[in-house]
Amino acid sequence: MASHATGRGPRRTAATYVRRGLVLVYLFFLVAWPVSLVVTRTFGDGNHLASTLQDPAVVFALQMTVVVAFWAVVINTVFGVGMSLLIVRYDFAGKGLLNTLLDLPLSVSPVVIGLALLLAYGPRDGYFAPVLDAINLQVVFSVPGIIMATAFVSLPLVIREVVPVLQEIGTEQEQAARSLGAGGWQTFRRITLPSIRWALVYGVVLSLARSLGEFGAVKIVSGNISQQTQTATLLVEEKYLEFERGAAYATSFLLTLIAVAALVVVTVLRPKEEKA
């Protein structure tokens, strides 16, 4: 009897269809429909995309977003892998505290993070102002500050993807590599990294999506100066408030497109890998 049921998966009843229907309706009204409106508005009355891309402020903001997201992702990837190894492979005092701290960026509002960075690295009364002045590095209201804020908010994403995989693979493969003569770096590159690569790619894509979309922390830290420190999300808000809605929709559409493209690339690549 059991084999009869498992042969074709669970039995489908009316309740199954009701449950599926609920999920679909929920996702449609919360996600699909609103996002599709952005797309239809972008291409609705005249092609806003082409005209918007003529605007140097838009081009600048998009470039800025890409550069910031790139560096934030690079920093989070290197730091995230290191942190994950530290958390999984070593025991030290304060590990629990560190674990909690790593989740802080996800639980605290980005606006608070922006303010905190302003307090620490701000130009006049910031904690590190004398030091930063001395080496002539402006952090807040410039690109380094924006990258910092973005890296801060997307900090845990790589770590939370990589840690469970590291825990699951254990250390035996690494020990085997050691006994076969591999040094620390060779073991990492040839054994550890390939084992965690899909978790890493997924973490990177999530970080990228999060970095592209960061708004609150960046708004406070950047100063939101057009063509100097304005990222795409800040531009969307500004254009929207200034009734240049076409430009706002078109820029939103481009942001969505990059994020969706990244997710699609991962989904397409992943099953191939697992089949092999």
Binding site: Q173, Q175, A176, A177, R178, S179, G181, S195
Partner: protein
């Protein structure tokens, strides 16, 4: 030569895993570290490999002090219970790993991998991933991988522990034959006394972080140094005040000079063997387990409930019970 272990101690927190181990493992032999789980045998193996560091003491491999040499420079082949296969590499790549690290020429690596895969009978699986192999095949791959670097010693940590009984037995015979071919100094850890008795030239019995006895399988079986060794190497029972193997007891239905006598109170048939329990009439003594073959029982005319007389068989080994 071989492996010389002097004064090795190792603790994990309060737990003493190894205390004052002195052991010399002969070159070219097949040595078993035998003992119950948690007795310290795996820890000792991992210390020899450099995967664990001893708190004190020294390790010498083939005349070279390796106490402070890191694992990757000890030239030791290590095989893990759960294979530790490199999951993202093909079988051939797994075997080639140590040679690639050593930057050997490509042609040499290819030739050597082919030889080794032939040796472990996996030549037709070279391009599969480890996930597509059975447990026994994976362990043979792991062995080829360890042998590829021409290790000065080969260490196997419960190599057949994760396999089912039949594959286990096959691999055991195969390891014995492989060793006769390759002659590399081999040490393997096991908690299965049958495995140790069947495969090893030398057995080291380890219990509670100490070495109980070192000797050939025959030595250990015939001249156990302690009641622990006697009882770990096979079934034992108490006859009077001595420990003895159940098949070393002479049983008779006719009254004769005997250590104890009493009725047969239990009768269990296991294949060709019959296991009896005799409860001595003298209440000071514990029930005695006796094992006889079905044919013997038939010849002696034994039946459940019969009153029998028991004494050690001629030449039987026994130890005063603690």
């Amino acid at each position: 030569m071989g492996i010389e272990i002097v004064g090795v101690n190792k603790s994990f927190g309060d737990f003493v895993a190894l205390s004052d181990i002195d052991l010399s493992i002969p070159s070219g032999g097949l040595t078993a570290l035998l003992g119950p789980s948690g007795g310290g045998k795996s820890t000792l193996l991992r210390i020899i490999a450099g995967l664990e560091t001893a708190d004190s003491g020294t390790i010498e491999i083939e005349g070279q002090d390796t106490t402070n040499v890191p694992a990757q420079r000890r030239n030791v082949g290590f095989v893990f219970q759960h294979y530790a296969a490199f999951k993202h590499m093909s079988v051939a790549k797994n075997v080639a790993f140590g040679l690639e690290i050593r930057k050997r020429p490509k042609a040499e690596i290819a030739r050597r991998v082919e030889e080794l895969l032939e040796l472990v009978h996996l030549e037709q699986f070279a391009h599969r991933l480890p996930a597509q192999l059975s447990g026994g095949q994976r362990q043979r791959m792991a062995l080829a991988r360890a042998l590829a670097i021409e290790p000065s010693v080969l260490l196997l940590d419960e190599p057949f522990g994760a396999l089912d009984a039949k594959v286990r037995k096959e691999l055991r015979d195969w390891l014995r034959r492989l060793h006769d071919e390759v002659h590399v100094t081999t040490v393997f850890v096991t908690h299965d006394q049958e495995e140790a008795l069947e495969v090893a030239d030398t057995i080291v019995v380890i219990n509670d972080g100490r070495i109980e006895q070192v000797g050939t399988p025959d030595d250990l079986y015939d001249k156990p140094a302690s009641d622990f060794v006697l009882s770990f190497l096979g079934p034992v029972t108490t006859l009077g005040d001595r420990l003895i193997r159940p098949h070393d007891i002479e049983i008779s239905r006719v009254e004769q000079a005997a250590v104890v006598d009493g009725p047969i109170t239990r009768w269990t048939r296991v294949g060709f063997e019959i296991r009896l329990e005799v409860t001595p009439t003298d209440a000071r003594y514990a029930p005695v387990q006796v094992s006889v073959t079905r044919t013997e029982a038939h010849a002696l005319g034994l039946h459940p409930g019969d009153h029998v007389w028991l004494r050690p068989a001629v030449g039987a080994q026994s130890v005063v019970s603690a």
